[in-house]
Subunit: 101 residues, 2 copies
């Protein structure tokens, strides 16, 4: 992976309120995976966070061609609904990190 | 970018004690870029952190084929020297996040 000039990599590390390996955890991750279908989203990944140096358990990473594509994702109704209905009630801790070259 | 099974993506978000856009900042980033030459390091990137939602200003991302390659990097004398001589004195805040599939 290398991030081309002008592109943005939006990442978030997070922990769920659900028990590890529970059905609720699986359903949340399945719902999160559907964010990949929102226009503008590229290189979408759901990852496990495995460092013993922090308490986050998952990560999501995606790339956008530019700031306009990122804004389009943020404002997309499917993203807004996901944040309200799944993210806010089910995520206990998170940190967003956005990268550019 | 997609992370193949078994691979690890080691990332660190950080802030320097140096003034933004200073010569000291540039020299630190140049020294950090030389970590890419350590055996086992793949997909090495130095990035700017641009989210207004946190105070980190930079990121480094690299990938390893497996845990043994990651351990080899951690224990490599060039890495140990960089941490002692540059990272500890020049970095004010950081967070490591390591991802697997």
């Amino acid at each position: 992976m290398t991030l081309a000039g002008g592109r943005l990599r939006h990442t978030v590390a997070f922990t769920l309120r659900h028990q590890a390996d529970s059905g609720e955890e699986r359903l949340f991750l399945e719902a999160a995976a559907r964010l990949a279908a929102i226009p503008g989203v590229e290189a979408f990944e759901i990852l496990r966070e495995v460092s013993p140096k922090n308490d986050y358990r998952f990560g999501i990473s995606m790339e956008f061609a530019d700031a306009a594509a990122y804004a389009g994702y943020n404002e997309h109704p499917d993203h807004i609904r996901f944040v309200a209905e799944r993210w806010v009630p089910e995520v206990s801790e998170f940190l967003e990190l956005d990268y550019a070259r």
